[in-house]
Assembly symmetry: C2
Homo-oligomer: 346 residues x 2
Amino acid sequence: MKRYLTLAASAAIFAAFPLAAQTTAAEKEKKEYPSPPEIVAKAKAEEWMTIAPTDLMVMDLAPDAKGKARRVVIQLMPAPFSQGWVSNIRQLAAAHWWDGTAVVRVQDNYVAQWGDPTEKKALPGGLAVVPESEYVTQIGKGLNPKKFLPNFLAAFPDYAKKFPEVAEKDPKEFEAEMRKRLESTADPYAKGNRYLAGWPTGGNYENGTFWPVHCYGMVGVGRNLSPDTGTGAELYTVIGHAPRHLDRNIALVGRVIEGVEHLSSLPRGTGPLGFYEKEEERVPIASVRLGNESADLPAFEYLSTDSASFAAYADARANRRDPFFILPAGGADICNIPVPIRRKAQ
Amino acid sequence: MKRYLTLAASAAIFAAFPLAAQTTAAEKEKKEYPSPPEIVAKAKAEEWMTIAPTDLMVMDLAPDAKGKARRVVIQLMPAPFSQGWVSNIRQLAAAHWWDGTAVVRVQDNYVAQWGDPTEKKALPGGLAVVPESEYVTQIGKGLNPKKFLPNFLAAFPDYAKKFPEVAEKDPKEFEAEMRKRLESTADPYAKGNRYLAGWPTGGNYENGTFWPVHCYGMVGVGRNLSPDTGTGAELYTVIGHAPRHLDRNIALVGRVIEGVEHLSSLPRGTGPLGFYEKEEERVPIASVRLGNESADLPAFEYLSTDSASFAAYADARANRRDPFFILPAGGADICNIPVPIRRKAQ
């Protein structure tokens, strides 16, 4: 009996994942192989990209049962992705359209969804009907590398700014490099994955298409059956394992960058698909505002996915060598390498 | 304005994911391509495997704020996986060791964890110290197919029972078939994935090892730094995107088959790693019992992963052709094809 008591005590079983006590050998190893958060903490100031307040959307739910505020901050997706829906969403937020609507559905290991429960609230005029073709972004056409490179640089100007030498590259060499990067990760949903403009994307180099992917916390547009693509008035966020089968079937328009727990920890709905069955179960939305209309919103920044620190972080996520791990996986799926996002230091 | 009102009304925006109204064309298509749940609903009785009550564990949390019961049902992992820890867990449950312990940690998009918050409760005598080598199951050795087949059939007797012709197979042919199956899915964490004995596993055919993988709802054993492997007294369940980097680094011992929402919807802890900072935040565990000690427990069954219906279901999960989808993904990761489990009809 004593043996196990000793074991329990010395093992500090509540550490469970790496926390406190480490041996000297482990400490040494740790210095050689920093953990993913340690790499992120050491990233240089210029590797962080400030998110413009106009690209943020703030959703304040009604306070919880204890009167505590529940704020969800969403970053809207930048060009060239999903801009038709994003434009609609900007209009809906500017019109304060979501004020008084509610979270109406929480399905375990899937999504939390919000919008107008009455389905009768008038939408503002001027919303676009976005075609299904916009679920993907077409870069150039086919395999012609001469066209791919200029189109790519036009679509992702930050990439060109960060790597001016790319614009000078031999298009064939660039194509080979892109293809290599795209094909370096085994992924059942896409020929290749890549972070573009700070977002996780799937890609098909053969036809030059790229699209955002359904990772935890990503925000998408509810829709009815095809050819409907949704207006953006009905939104959901992923609160479970990445439902990647939805990629290219629904528009993704952003990601929750703070407060996702206010959606993911809500009681699950007991109706079909996790809809709340009773009106009183719904979680009222007090207001939704664009970041530039929200006076008390701090600034946020994300780690540039084109930075050296992000590359080191992604490698460390795929090959954990920090002391807790005994066997590095040798790979990671794109949704298991979340882009680091934080409040900007004042 | 009218146009969008009409659109909103006709689109029944709260359907969002397939629900009610369908066109006649879509109805027709649906008949040709049943959805994954429709395939499961039509599976034959003999394709369902009853789970023995002795392989179940029932955790009753204290009732919630409204006095509602919160029961979590866990299926323990069968041989040949993780049996050292599973045996410890059976002893802990038989000793009613978890009664009065608590859920102590809920980290968003990661795990909910429970055990003794005092870290001082005496463990029952006779618990095994399980070596790290048990994180994987070795089937045969290396590439010798003559040894692989009999070892495989010994390790997975249900497989042999379901497919008696396998035992008659040319070992080389069997090896080729297994290798093909293992290598058919792109996965960054394992050379191949396979469902074995009803559980999602990663595999490396080269060295004949297989191991359970960290999908949503899987239950694992908290541990301290290597070479500690945990006793099983400290358990966690995955409540977010599959943390597959933990595969082969921590023991998996089961999965939540009912009531996972009682863990996944708990408030997130605000301490480091999602630990609850105050004692009153912890969620008390009233009792944990093995299924055979739990009088009011219904019977459960899972869809045999060796059945024709499971193969059709897995194919449909990877290639959604039911009416909501416009583009089948062409693949799925193993954690996005959860094994169907249900209460057995009385």
